[in-house]
């Protein structure tokens, strides 16, 4: 239900934007988040719910660092 996957903004036309997921292009609405071309965004049921600041690899490195701080 809360399925959402990251894609890249390739077109902006007012609130209607096109998001590319490795070759799949889907129209989405950017009513609650400010986006620009090239942003990686998370889309849920046709609505952009977040702009992703870091790339996946970077986020994973940070994740492991963060749990490391909890003690091994």
């Amino acid at each position: 239900m809360c399925v959402a996957s990251p894609g890249r903004v390739v077109e902006i036309n007012g609130k209607t934007i096109t998001v590319d997921y490795l070759g799949n292009r889907v129209k989405a609405n950017s009513g609650i988040v400010d986006v620009k071309i090239g942003d990686y965004v998370l889309v849920h049921a046709g609505l952009v719910i977040q702009v992703l600041e870091k790339d996946e690899a970077e986020a994973m490195t940070e994740l492991f660092k963060e749990i490391e701080e909890l003690g091994q």
Binding site: V3, S5, G23, N24, V26
Partner: protein, 324 residues
């Protein structure tokens, strides 16, 4: 021009339809006799199969219902180790169907039949009330070369998949869900790879085409028929980047996506590498992989990339459009 109920009346319009569409494209010695039934030669054991095709849309990227109706039936014959020879085609057409589209479908069937080495020896056309839909049934006859049965799989066999999963399903779903992409359906006849495997004396234990229900469903059926366990490694399963991304958008599972030009087979592990090389050299087989092996036990076990094992079941539920 649109098809009307008159085209199915059995009268002049019917014979014109047959002449201008079906006889024109399917022409061959046996069909041209236009007798009530076709008489064909056979000195071998024959394999017979039938399948009906109800896909919407009728045309999609990489194929159409006509090509699909030949591939589906031809592949079912091949999976029993039979060389496909003859095929019949029965059309049920709803009034309002487009004449040109019907002809394009017939043309595509003829091309695919030629590629697969079969001839259309009999046919039928009915027109019913409706909304322009077209449905096709094909029956295929093949000569059995090696009697291949699902129950022949042996413990320690390797499991081979002939190529990327999910293309056909993704194409059909894309049209329904307004997702744009360049994914093409995989619908294809698998003759070349099957013939090459047989020619090179690969001892095929079992072979199935992976269609509706996807790989997981087919493997469950294979495992059940030989009372052994099929274990596959998830990260060995070939698929394209865009199909994987497509699955994520809609929350679909690749292992349950339908295909129309893929097969899975079991062979002795000593021959597995050779078999994969042969398939990769054939048309439609370039992405073939060994995806797992057969063990004592039952059911289908999938090993995730982190090494977790989980049991796979057949496809449950739907909510998905008709895809074949």
């Amino acid at each position: 021009m649109k098809i009307t109920l008159a085209h199915g009346s059995g009268g002049k319009s019917t014979s014109e339809l047959i002449k201008n569409v079906f006889a024109k494209h399917f022409s061959n010695e046996i069909l041209n006799m236009m007798e009530d039934s076709a008489v064909v030669d056979s000195s071998k054991k024959i394999a017979v199969t039938t399948d009906s095709f109800v896909v919407t849309p009728l045309f999609y990227r990489g194929g159409n219902i006509g090509r699909l109706s030949i591939c589906g039936t031809v592949n079912d014959l091949l999976m029993r180790g039979a060389v496909p020879k003859y095929i019949t085609s029965a059309f049920i057409i709803e009034e309002g169907a487009d004449f040109d589209e019907l002809e394009r479908i017939a043309e595509s069937m003829a091309e695919t039949a030629e590629e697969a080495g079969v001839i259309v020896v009999a046919g039928d056309t009915k027109v019913i009330e409706g909304n322009g839909g077209i449905y096709i049934n094909t029956t295929g006859i093949g000569f059995v070369e090696h009697d291949i049965k699902s129950s022949n799989t042996k413990c320690s066999d390797s499991i081979i998949l002939s190529g990327n999963l999910g293309d056909h399903h993704a194409v059909i779903m894309s049209e329904r869900m307004n997702i744009e992409n360049e994914i093409e359906s995989d619908n294809a006849p698998l003759c070349e790879m099957v013939f090459e495997l047989m020619k090179n004396n690969i001892e095929i234990h079992a072979m199935r085409d992976v269609t509706r229900g996807g790989l997981a469903t087919v493997l469950c059926e294979l495992a059940e028929s030989c009372s052994l366990q099929f274990e596959i490694e998830e990260d060995k399963i070939p698929s394209s980047e865009s199909v994987r991304a497509f699955c994520k958008i809609l929350g679909l599972n690749l292992l349950y996506m339908g295909n129309e030009g893929k097969m899975v087979l079991t062979v002795p592990s000593a021959q597995a590498e050779k078999a994969v090389e042969i398939i990769r050299r054939c048309r439609y087989g370039e992405n073939a992989e060994i995806i797992g092996s057969v063990k004592e036990g039952s059911g289908v076990v999938s090993v995730t990339k982190l090494g977790a094992k989980r049991t796979l079941s057949v496809l449950y539920g739907e909510g998905l459009p008709r895809i074949c």
